[in-house]
Amino acid sequence: MSVNVLMSFAFWAKKDLSEVRRELVCGKLMIDSGAYTAYTSGQVIRLADYAAFLATWRPYWDHAVTLDTIGDPVATRRSTRALHEQGLPVMPVFTRGESVKEFEAMVRDCGYVCVGGGVGMSQDVLVRRTQLLQRRAADLGGGIHALGMGAVGLVRQAMPYSADSSNISNTFQFGNIRFFNGQEIKSCKANDKRALLRNWEALRGHDINVADLAQNGRMPAGEFRTQLGQAMSLAYASADEWLHSVATVPVPRGVRDPRPGPHLYSSISVSHLLPGVIDLDHKLHNGYRPPVWRKYGRGHKCVERTAA
C-alpha cells in the first residue's frame, strides 16, 4: 500500500472524506473516534455524532474503529453493538482487562479487530501481547490492528496485520522531521544542523531539501511545510513497503483488500499537512520516484480503490 491514512473523528468531524478518497489511489483510509485524544483533553464524543459521520462518508472509508470508551470495555462493546445495528461495520476494540474468550468472540464476529490499551506498556510486553493476539486471531481466520503501536521496529517484531504509527502532526509540533532509514522511522530536529548533516543522505532520499532546512535553522512555514509533511508520509509509505518485503501476514476475514499485511497507517490531525500527505499517493502512482521509493517501493502492488 502506498499511503494509508488514519483520521480521527475528534479532529476531522467536519471533513469531506470524498475529497480525501479522491487523492488516495490505493492507500487505505481508516477512521477512529479519537477517543484517547478526547479522553485526555476532556472532549466528549457522542455516539450519535460519530455514527452520523461514519454513515455520511461510508463509501469513502475502508475501515472504522468503534467508539472506544477508555477504561470501560463494557461501554465500548455497547457502542460496537449499536454501530453494527446501524449497519456500520466498525472494528471492535480489545483492551486491557478483557479475556482471551472475549478476544476470540470479537474475532469470530468481525474478523478484523483493533487491539488497544498499549499506552504505558513496556515494549517487550507490548510486542509479545501483539504477537500472540495476532497469531490467535489468524488461527481463527482473523487479524488485528495494533492501535498506536508506533515504531516500525516494533511492528516488524510483532507482525500484526496492521498498525498505526504516531502522529506526523505531533512530530511537526515538536520541530522534528521523520524519515525511513531502511529499518526504522527515525527523526531529527529541523534546527539541529549536525543531525541534518548526519542524516542528509536519508533525508535527500525523501526529497527533503536539506540545504534549505539547514539555512533556515527552524521548522519552515507555508508551502515548504506541506512538502515536508509529504516527505514524512513518504517515510511511512516506504516503511510499509519494506515491511511487506520482509514478512507477510494473512488478510483477515471480511477485509476486501487482497494484499497481505503488515500495513502501516500514519495518523494526521492537522489540516495544513493533509493535502501533502494524500497528494503523495497520487504522485507515486503518476511516476514520482524519489530515491527512498525507488529502493523500497519497487515491489508496490497497486490495487486501485474506487469509492463504493
Binding site: R96, V100, G120, S122, V125, R129, L132, L133, S245, V246
Partner: protein, 198 residues
C-alpha cells in the same frame, strides 16, 4: 574516455594516498577478507604526469591500508593518467556508486546462509542474525496458557501507581470501603462519585 588498463604488481611504498579522500573504510574487515580471499581487484592509481603527483591512489585506499597492516609489500594495481579534476571525479564516483547500490535482502541471506562460514565475506554472525531475523517465520503454535499469561502481564504492565498520604481518620474510613485491596476501593469510590454526579 578510455583507459589502457593493465594489471601489475607494485610496491606499496611507491603508492601515495590521495590527500582529499573523504571515505572512511572498515580496515579490520578488509584485512579479514584479504587473509581469506587474497586481493581479487586491482587498486586504481593515477600515474600523475598531468597532476605532478606520482602514483596517487584513486580507488582502494583502505585495501592498501589493510595490506600494509598485514605486512604485504606488493599489491596489484592498474593505472590511469588523468588530470586533477578527473582524478577527483573517479575517486568520488567509485565511492558513490557503491553507496547507491542496494541489496535483495532475501537473496543475500540465502547466499550467506549457504556458505560453510562467513570468513572473509565482510559479514559476521551478528550481521547474519540481524538479516535472518527479518525473514523469520512468524507462524508458531499459541497455547491458551501462554496467551493468557501474556495478557495478564500486559494488563498489569505500565499502569500508574498512585501514592496518597491520608490522615489516620480518613485512612480508617478508606478501609471501610468495600473491596479486597486499595485498587478496588479506589475504583469503588470513583464509581460511587460518578453515579452521585451523573
Amino acid at each position: 574516455m578510455k583507459h589502457d588498463l593493465k594489471v601489475y604488481d607494485e610496491l606499496i611504498r611507491n603508492l601515495t594516498p590521495h590527500p582529499e579522500n573523504a571515505r572512511h573504510g572498515d580496515v579490520p574487515r578488509i584485512m579479514a577478507s584479504l587473509r581469506k580471499l587474497g586481493q581479487y581487484r586491482p587498486i586504481v592509481v593515477n600515474r600523475g604526469s598531468l597532476t605532478g603527483r606520482e602514483m596517487e591512489i584513486l580507488a582502494g585506499h583502505h585495501l592498501v591500508q589493510a595490506a600494509t597492516e598485514l605486512g604485504w609489500q606488493y599489491v596489484s594495481i592498474t593505472t590511469v593518467d588523468v588530470d586533477d579534476d578527473t582524478a577527483k571525479r573517479i575517486m568520488l564516483a567509485d565511492n558513490r556508486t557503491s553507496d547507491l547500490a542496494s541489496y535483495d535482502d532475501r537473496l543475500l541471506v540465502e547466499l550467506l546462509g549457504g556458505l560453510p562460514d562467513l570468513d572473509g565475506t565482510g559479514y559476521d554472525a551478528a550481521d547474519l542474525d540481524a538479516l535472518e531475523s527479518l525473514f523469520k517465520d512468524h507462524a508458531w503454535e499459541v497455547n491458551d496458557r501462554e496467551l493468557q499469561d501474556a495478557l495478564d502481564t500486559a494488563d498489569e504492565d505500565g499502569w500508574p501507581v498512585v501514592k496518597a498520604k491520608l490522615a489516620p481518620a480518613l485512612h480508617a474510613r478508606f478501609l471501610e470501603v468495600p473491596g479486597s485491596d486499595d485498587s478496588t476501593r479506589v475504583t469503588t469510590l470513583i464509581q460511587e462519585w460518578d453515579e452521585a454526579h451523573e
